[in-house]
């Protein structure tokens, strides 16, 4: 990767600088090659997946003769002739991690487990020929009655063994029910959060090409090691026979953590045909076949004294889950750390439905959970008549309220106060529905943000060649977050070179294994590995410099070595790094570095990033159309590695919050079990016109317990609580509290005043 930004000054700490994306020029000039765009030797064949027209049952007859006879068709694969794959296995894997690596067979049985599940693959000379042939495959189904609607099957709810990421299903502290029963002030409320889809710009796509018994797979993956294991386990070949390439990823948001049908089928078909095969899911197919956030019913109960001190917190979540593969989003887990209260309950329950499995969707847990919880806090503030920020300050815990360990850093109060000051929070009228401009109602709302910080085991390799060219390699991915850039900054800082001198190479399974992109841990994990690799390389360089005869540093003291301004300095002597390497190690040098998964520091401290969101909204008095007019997020997330890429991450999260609050919903038809609005014309995400001037402020902070940089994960933090701030602003504007997300105008309209003459409205 070469840097597009000319950077002259090299003698500085690049960490914390707003360095432009090193891959920016490649992307905006179309030179960044994405999975489906790769070329291989020899002509590629194109696959098209045909999905089931029912949601539960079996294929009773399938006739592919006509499709096979169509011009250009090379192969039609169904469960009848697909290569043998291992059985899918139980709904819950024995170990948490195995969910990422388990076999994911496709077309291996006649069973249909969800609507649009692959029932056939057509491979042809062109995409159009494949799609055309797929349409003439005749299929009969034995349709079984499935269960689709969460709310109709609540009686079947069960407690899973654990939540996603291995958290305990339930937590119980004190005696909530007693505290709640006795309390004069209480909120007892139920929120629902809908099915949502990630919809990254780049669809799930794969090009598979075999060479002997080895397959090279160009795909769009967030975590290569997991993908590789998943593919190897499904194809039943050794992992080292799978070479994965994922250099550029057009967004993942958690939908590219496990292999999907495009990858498995491309690999199977390419092996069958002895020819490279490309398959992409269509946008419509992504709704059924690439994961979703499940629908949830969330009960939030709060009890407090009249001053707003919480005496009890209960967050009970009931979520839909796939019958064949369990996924329990950790929706109430954040509530274990957010506010103090002596009596507490958090619980997760699941209802099995006949849909595809849910997957990790940006900010799993916090995204839906804080929508409900932070709105309930707003309800409590309104009921007691205290400012929502004051309410939160009054319940600021000294230590993690359920784990009883100290916070590593926690600046939630500072975030709220700084945000209030900058946003003009004092202008907020506590009484809802009282601010009007023309035919618009204006409201302000806020909510807190919290998101755990992680560190995952990762390794990196670094090399410097005889001409001083530095190359960093690791199987980390850049899913659009800026990983290439921050890794260049980290290596540049360590080696005393400009970021443009560092060639960062990612997304190749031949490189050392990392934790990948997921859980907002990428920067810390991959970054630490790169940092350690750099330190190891510097030691090697220093050692060689002192040991090689003819080196200007021959025999000098290794303890006083500095790498700065493109030079190495030992004692009072300095030398251009490239020249030195050329003299002392003309064949080049390389080194490895690694970091272990967070251990002691993670056990001994409660590690989270925090923030506070502020929203101003305008609601049309006649039509209830809601448009955010201003939004600010103040973030306390440790040291910020690159304020530019970090800001983009937070802004992206805020936009997700606007979407979740106002429009995003995949509607499941309870009769057929399919997502009705499965395209981007009808699954609404915010467009530019919905996103006003968003502002982000980072507080000065460094968390020494988090990682070597003092940074914390920020990729998901912006989403957490953002939607609740929007919904709270709507309440403040209108006095209407909608508890069924998204808050669309049809739900607000009945609560608006009736129109009367002279612009005044009667209630």
């Amino acid at each position: 990767m070469s840097n597009s930004t000319p950077i002259a000054d090299t003698g500085k700490n690049w960490i914390g600088q707003p360095v432009d994306r090193v891959d920016g020029a490649l992307k905006v000039t179309g030179q960044a090659v994405y999975a489906y765009e790769h070329r291989t030797d020899g002509p590629v064949a194109y696959g098209y997946i045909l999905g089931a027209g029912i949601a539960r049952g079996r294929v009773s007859a399938i006739d592919t003769a006509q499709a096979e006879a169509m011009p250009g068709v090379l192969r039609v694969m169904t469960y009848k002739n697909a290569p043998t794959q291992p059985a899918f296995g139980p709904a819950v894997t024995p170990a948490v991690r195995e969910v990422f690596t388990r076999p994911r067979p496709v077309l291996s049985t006649d069973r249909v487990r969800y609507y649009d599940e692959p029932v056939a693959l057509v491979v042809a000379e062109t995409f159009e020929a494949a799609r055309g042939a797929a349409r003439v495959i005749a299929i009969d189904y034995e349709d079984e009655r499935g269960a689709y609607d969460l709310s109709r099957h609540l009686a079947d709810a069960y407690a899973p063994q654990r939540t996603n990421a291995g958290f305990q299903t339930d937590s119980l502290v004190g005696d909530f029910e007693a505290a709640f029963a006795d309390s004069a002030v209480k909120v007892d409320t139920i929120y629902t959060t809908p099915y949502e889809h990630h919809n990254p710009m780049e669809p799930h796509a794969t090009l598979a090409a075999w060479s002997g018994d080895e397959v090279t797979i160009y795909t769009s993956a967030q975590t290569l090691a997991n993908f590789r294991a998943g593919i190897a386990n499904t194809l039943q070949i050794p992992p080292d026979k799978v070479h994965l390439v994922s250099r550029f990823i057009g967004g993942g948001f958690g939908s590219k953590l496990i292999v999907h049908a495009d990858t498995i089928l491309a690999a199977l078909a390419a092996r069958d045909l002895q020819r490279p095969v490309k398959i992409a899911l269509t946008r419509q197919q992504m709704f059924a076949n690439a994961g979703h956030r499940a629908k949830m019913i969330q009960s939030v109960r709060l009890s407090a004294n009249r001053e707003g001190k919480l005496t009890g917190i209960a967050h009970d979540v009931c979520s839909a889950t796939s019958r064949f593969e369990e996924f329990c989003e950790q929706t109430a887990v954040f509530a274990r750390s957010l506010y103090a209260a002596p009596n507490r309950i958090t619980r997760h329950r699941l209802v099995s439905v006949d849909t595809n499995r849910g997957e990790w969707m940006r900010s799993p847990g916090e995204a839906p959970g804080m929508l409900a919880f932070e709105c309930a806090m707003d309800e409590l503030a309104d009921q007691i008549g205290i400012d929502p920020i004051q309410l939160r300050i009054r319940n600021e815990p000294e230590v993690d309220p359920e784990r009883n360990v100290p916070f590593s850093t926690r600046n939630l109060v500072a975030c709220m106060q700084e945000g209030a000051r900058r946003f003009g929070w004092e202008q907020r009228q506590a009484k809802p529905g009282t601010v009007r401009q023309g035919r618009k109602l204006i409201g302000l709302g806020m909510a807190a943000a919290i998101r755990p910080n992680y560190l995952g085991a990762s390794a990196a390799r670094i090399s410097i060649d005889g001409n001083g060219q530095v190359k960093v390699q690791l199987d980390m991915t850049d899913i659009g977050t800026g990983t290439y850039t921050i890794l260049a900054q980290i290596a540049a800082t360590s080696l005393g070179l400009p970021p443009s001198a560092i060639d960062v190479q990612l997304g190749d399974s031949h490189f050392p294994r990392t934790a990948g992109s997921g859980g907002s841990w990428g920067a810390a994990s991959a970054g630490s590995a790169v940092h350690n690799a750099c330190e190891a390389l510097k030691q090697k360089i220093a050692k060689v410099s002192q040991e090689v005869r003819g080196s200007p540093f021959y025999g000098s003291n290794p303890d006083r070595t500095e790498f700065t301004n493109g030079e190495i300095r030992i004692g009072d002597r300095s030398e251009n790094l490239a020249n030195l390497i050329n003299r002392v190690a003309p064949q080049g040098l390389d080194a490895q570095g690694a970091v272990e998964a967070a251990g002691e520091n993670y056990r001994n401290y409660s590690q989270h990033a925090y923030g506070a969101h502020f929203v101003e909204i305008e609601v049309d008095l006649d039509t209830a159309e809601m448009r955010v007019s201003r939004m600010l997020s103040v973030i306390g997330a440790g040291r910020i590695l690159n304020p530019k890429t970090a800001r983009s991450q937070i802004i992206g999260g805020m936009v997700w919050g606007i979407g979740a609050a106002l429009m995003e919903e995949s509607v499941l038809d309870p009769r057929y079990g399919h997502f009705v609005n499965h395209d981007l014309a009808e699954y609404h995400v915010p467009v530019n016109a919905d996103v006003p001037d968003l502002d982000v402020v980072f507080l000065e902070e460094s968390d020494g317990n988090a990682n070597v940089f003092g940074s914390k994960g920020i990729g998901e933090l912006g989403v957490c609580g953002a939607g609740a701030a929007v919904a709270n602003a709507i309440f403040n504007a209108t006095g209407v509290r909608v508890r069924e997300f998204p808050v669309t105008l049809d739900k607000v309209l009945p609560g608006l005043p009736v129109q009367t003459s002279s612009g005044a409205n009667r209630s």
Partner: protein, 328 residues
């Protein structure tokens, strides 16, 4: 996609010969609707006649003082035309409220009028849909029908026509000029172009097989203030939940003329003359607008998910009429 043949028509008679001589032929203009439907095999033409190169891309003044808009005029061109902007601002506003800039650059005047419904079930070939497959049933009727019609629908189909442009054309009393395969031309008022579903929702317009829209005729501009109000789920790039095209002419303190049309509520742009008539000669007042709105929606029937459209349409009518009757 089903294989098809393609013909680029240089002259009108080539196009007409093509459509007359090939079974299951279709015109393609901007293709922004037709191609999407072909990819999903909801439309399966055997032959495509590209009419983009026919000489129908001009906007000319008519002898009556109106405008004749060629069927190939792009939505973006039409919205930017200075005569449209000054004399028919409701039309410019409606066009700009539709789709995205990229789609408007491709979309033609004729294609916009003949675009098909966005009903989710129509788009999914696994679902029953009388419009796509006559006799198969209507999945929307008891399904997710938030976007569907509250006026003029039947149990066979409750789809809405999604065009914004057509709503403005209706309030402007525009007519569609067509030519059939025999070369016969006729004019159809925009309000009569689309048919209500009845028991044959698959038959959507009055056009005969192979009949081409060649132009849209606008009568001379109306006195009064014009506006297009589109209510939607996001600020841009969403179809109307409800829209109102309104023209109100206030002389002194009384209403000398008032007309309004609704979008997003029926299988065609909707206008209720009785609702307009009661406003004539009245003073501007919320009560009068409320009465007009009530009359306009008097026959409305909700289907569950779209019940909100009835009060929403009324409130939007009132807002639009009030705004259009303001001076300045």
């Amino acid at each position: 996609m089903k294989p098809f043949t393609y013909q680029r028509a240089g002259e009108l008679r080539d196009a007409m010969a093509g459509v007359a001589g090939t079974p299951n032929a279709k015109f393609i203009s901007g293709g922004t609707n037709l191609l999407d439907l072909m990819k999903l095999e909801i439309e399966r033409p055997a032959h495509l006649i590209d009419i983009n190169h026919l000489p129908f891309n001009g906007i000319e003044e008519t002898a009556e003082g109106g405008l004749r808009i060629g069927a190939q005029v792009r939505n973006s061109t039409l919205a930017a035309d200075s005569r449209i902007r000054s004399n028919y601002p409701v039309l410019a506003q409606a066009l700009l409220a539709g789709a995205s800039a990229q789609i408007r650059n491709k979309a033609s005047t004729g294609g916009n009028l003949l675009q098909r419904t966005r009903c989710y079930y129509f788009y999914d070939r696994n679902m029953p849909c009388n419009k796509r497959k006559p006799g198969s049933g209507c999945a929307a009727l008891h399904g997710f029908n938030r976007m569907h019609a509250v006026l003029g629908s039947s149990d066979a189909c409750i789809a809405v026509h999604p065009s914004d442009m057509a709503v403005a054309m209706l309030v402007l009393d525009a007519s569609v000029e067509t030519m059939d395969t025999e070369g016969v031309t006729r004019q159809i008022p925009v309000g009569d172009l689309h048919r209500l579903p009845g028991s044959t929702p698959d038959v959507e317009t009055q056009l005969k097989l192979g009949e081409m829209i060649t132009a849209v005729i606008l009568p001379p501009g109306q006195p009064g203030r014009q506006l297009y109000r589109k209510v939607r789920d996001r600020a841009s790039y969403a179809f109307a939940l409800v829209s109102v095209a309104a023209i109100v002419h206030v002389a002194g303190d009384t209403i000398a003329g008032a007309r309004f049309a609704l979008g997003g509520v029926a299988a065609k742009p909707w206008r209720v003359p009785e609702a307009e008539a009661i406003l004539l000669g009245e003073k501007v007042s919320t009560e009068m607008f409320e009465r007009a709105a009530d009359i306009a929606l008097a026959n409305a029937v909700g289907r569950g998910g779209n019940d909100f459209k009835i009060p929403l349409a009324k409130r939007t009518i009132q807002q639009a009429l009030a705004a259009a009757s303001q001076r300045g």
